[in-house]
């Protein structure tokens, strides 16, 4: 990989292609014009072919390391490290593209698979090559494989891929995309988390979010220095985010380190922002100043993280407690039910949140919630209870004023329209609320 000249690593492309222009600008993953679906021809015209000559498996891992690419699935783990560990593992090697976007508020992976499936598939093939994969999987929720089938068909017809891809279906559950649950499913079991001792990468299995693979496909073409042209030094590149402001959610691509106030088009009507997703953190609207930027280093200072890239702006006329209680009930219902503390704690926390979101909750309920939150943290096989507690605790902190109002039988919000998206499968009836 050469340093300054992005064109040096690409094979010769037709002069009419805008590959070099595209390489410098934004957006990188999403198409430059809205609503344009990319087929293989458009993909190759925009990005050119993947470099094949002179690209050894380790050079992709080196490129990922130099580029500083971190996982875009929520954990933000350095990609090169995971690839290196899997590459070193003995025995059968497997790579999985995780497109099972189980977070109800996130739409970015679906958007990526719709607009740029070939980038994802390019990245998947390259990563498979880098680790020496014996098996390649694409893990998708039901209803998504139709979209990807066309892209796969085009690639087969063009003879692009060295390895065949097995598309595996994820059940419509929140934990279906969790790493050990995914592996369980791929190996023929249910999509339930496991407590196996060696970590998944050490077992020779590389699980990467589809967005991560798309970035990898571009790094392979244009090099790590190109990747680092935007973003921050510690967290380079761009990321996809799903923004909820009321109405249809919007998927955007922004450089890391962007000002949140600009991205959110922050107007005074907002009372709070949810950052990350339903395992994320609530922040008061006042925290969204010019210093709050889209990167983990800054967000960590506020106790938040990028997570699944969800940014939801709660308008003033919606009751934050009510929204939090709705989501908590969903999260409780999505527990795998395998671990005693989670199975017992989350439903009780959900019921308590429903009470706190209602009129005149008992004082004991607030104390119970905190006690249960402490009891479930760190005591499950996965981080579902921890994420749920993070969501709940931040809600109770940010909506403290609302809690006080509810204690006297009032509520500041005139609207009872639901704001945060939840799957239809779990209808929220009025009987749940008193």
């Amino acid at each position: 990989m050469t340093a300054a000249n992005p064109q040096a690593v690409t094979e010769p492309v037709p002069a009419a292609s805008g590959a070099a222009r595209q390489a410098a600008g934004l957006p990188r993953l999403l198409p430059p014009a809205p609503g344009v679906r990319e087929d293989l021809e458009a993909h190759l015209a925009r990005f050119g072919h993947l470099p094949r000559a002179g690209l050894s498996p380790t050079s992709l891992i080196d490129a990922a390391e130099q580029a500083g690419l971190t996982g875009r699935g929520g954990a933000a783990f350095p990609v090169y490290r995971k690839l290196a560990v899997v590459r070193r593992a003995r025995g059968r090697k497997v790579i999985v593209a995780n497109g099972a976007e189980s977070e109800p508020a996130s739409r970015k992976d679906a958007a990526l698979l719709w607009h740029a499936p070939h980038l994802v598939l390019d990245g998947l093939q390259m990563a498979a090559e880098a680790i020496g994969a014996d098996q390649v999987y694409l893990y998708l929720h039901r209803g998504q494989e139709g979209k990807i089938a066309r892209a796969l068909h085009e690639r087969t017809a063009a003879g692009l891929d060295r390895r065949g891809i097995v598309v595996t279906q994820a059940p419509p559950r929140f934990l279906a995309g969790q790493e050990t649950a995914l592996v369980n499913r791929i190996e023929g079991g249910p999509a339930l988390p496991t407590f196996a001792s060696p970590l998944v990468p050490e077992r020779g299995i590389a699980v990467h979010n589809v967005e991560t693979l798309a970035h990898l496909a571009l790094i392979a073409r244009y090099g790590p220095d190109w990747f680092r042209q935007v973003g921050t030094a510690a967290e380079p590149g761009t990321m996809l985010a799903t923004i909820h402001r009321g109405g249809r959610p919007e998927v955007i691509e922004a450089p890391l380190g962007s000002q949140l106030s600009t991205l959110l088009d922050h107007s005074g009507a907002a009372q709070a922002v949810l950052i990350g997703g339903y395992h994320g953190t609530w922040l008061p609207a006042s925290a969204v100043d010019e210093n709050l930027t889209l990167d983990n280093r800054t967000l960590k200072r506020h106790g938040a993280a990028l997570g699944a890239g969800v940014l939801a702006v709660l308008p003033g006329q919606v009751c934050g407690l009510r929204e939090a209680a709705r989501v908590t009930r969903y999260l409780a219902a999505e527990s795998a039910g395998q671990c005693g503390p989670c199975l017992n704690g989350l439903p009780r926390i959900a019921a308590a949140m429903a009470e706190l979101a209602g009129s005149r909750p008992r004082r004991k309920t607030r104390e119970d919630t905190e006690r249960w939150a402490g009891l479930v943290t760190g005591r499950g096989a996965c981080h579902h209870p921890d994420g749920t507690v993070r969501f709940v605790r931040s809600a109770l902190t940010v909506f403290a004023d609302e809690l006080r109002r509810h204690a006297t039988g009032r509520c500041s919000a005139p609207s009872s329209q639901p704001f945060l998206p939840l799957p239809d499968r779990m209808p929220m009836s009025e009987e749940d609320w008193i």
Binding site: A333, P347, A351
Partner: protein
């Protein structure tokens, strides 16, 4: 009484005691599995009882087998105690005893090596108890005329009834238990109901 007869009596006596102890061990095993408390005993006492009585039962079995082999009235090679259907005398009924003993040996060995074994493997072998006991029971009844009439028969039937009752209890308890997949929904409904009941109580109190 010749020494040969003494061995024969010893074998039959220790066999009966072993059967009684194994019945008790089985019931204790189910008690542990169902997390049932025995009055006055901490839980570790129940698990220890299950383990210690099983070792006691095996000791009686060892003497049962040894005395049967040493007895010269009938010829039973020592190998026949673990190799089924290898004895000349009462080949089939004794063979069942060997089958049962083999399963028990597997259970004991895997339990001694518990920490090192895969959980699923250990449990699968331990569940062969459901096979081992009935096989031992049939072996007991038919290996010697003793248990086919009189007080010995009543004792045998009593053991069988106790075991059957225990297994029925175990199955019923399992059936009553919420299936794992449904537990989350059940607990959510329960937590919701408790909250609504509490709210109704408070509303009632407030309206008085």
């Amino acid at each position: 009484m010749t020494s040969s007869s003494a061995f024969w009596y010893a074998s039959r006596a220790t066999g009966v005691v072993a059967l009684l102890l194994l019945t008790l061990v089985f019931v204790l095993g189910l008690t542990v599995n169902r997390q049932t408390r025995l009055p006055g005993l901490p839980r570790f006492a129940v698990t220890d009882l299950h383990r210690n009585i099983s070792l006691l039962a095996v000791s009686f079995l060892a003497i049962h087998v040894l005395t049967a082999v040493l007895d010269t009235y009938v010829h039973i090679p020592v190998a026949a105690s673990v190799i089924p259907f290898a004895s000349g005398y009462e080949r089939f009924w004794l063979g069942l005893g060997a089958v049962s003993l083999d399963l028990m040996i597997a259970m004991i060995i895997t339990s001694l090596l518990r920490g090192r074994l895969n959980r699923i493997t250990w449990r699968a072998i331990h569940l062969t108890a459901y096979l081992s006991w009935p096989v031992a029971f049939v072996h007991s009844i038919y290996s010697s005329k003793d248990m086919q009439h009189g007080p010995m028969l009543y004792l045998a039937v009593l053991c069988a009834l106790i075991l059957a009752a225990a297994v029925i209890w175990r199955l019923a308890s399992g059936a009553r238990q919420t299936p794992r997949a449904a537990r989350v929904a059940a607990l959510l409904s329960q937590a919701q109901r408790e909250r609504q009941a509490e709210h109704a109580r408070r509303m009632q109190k407030a309206s008085r």
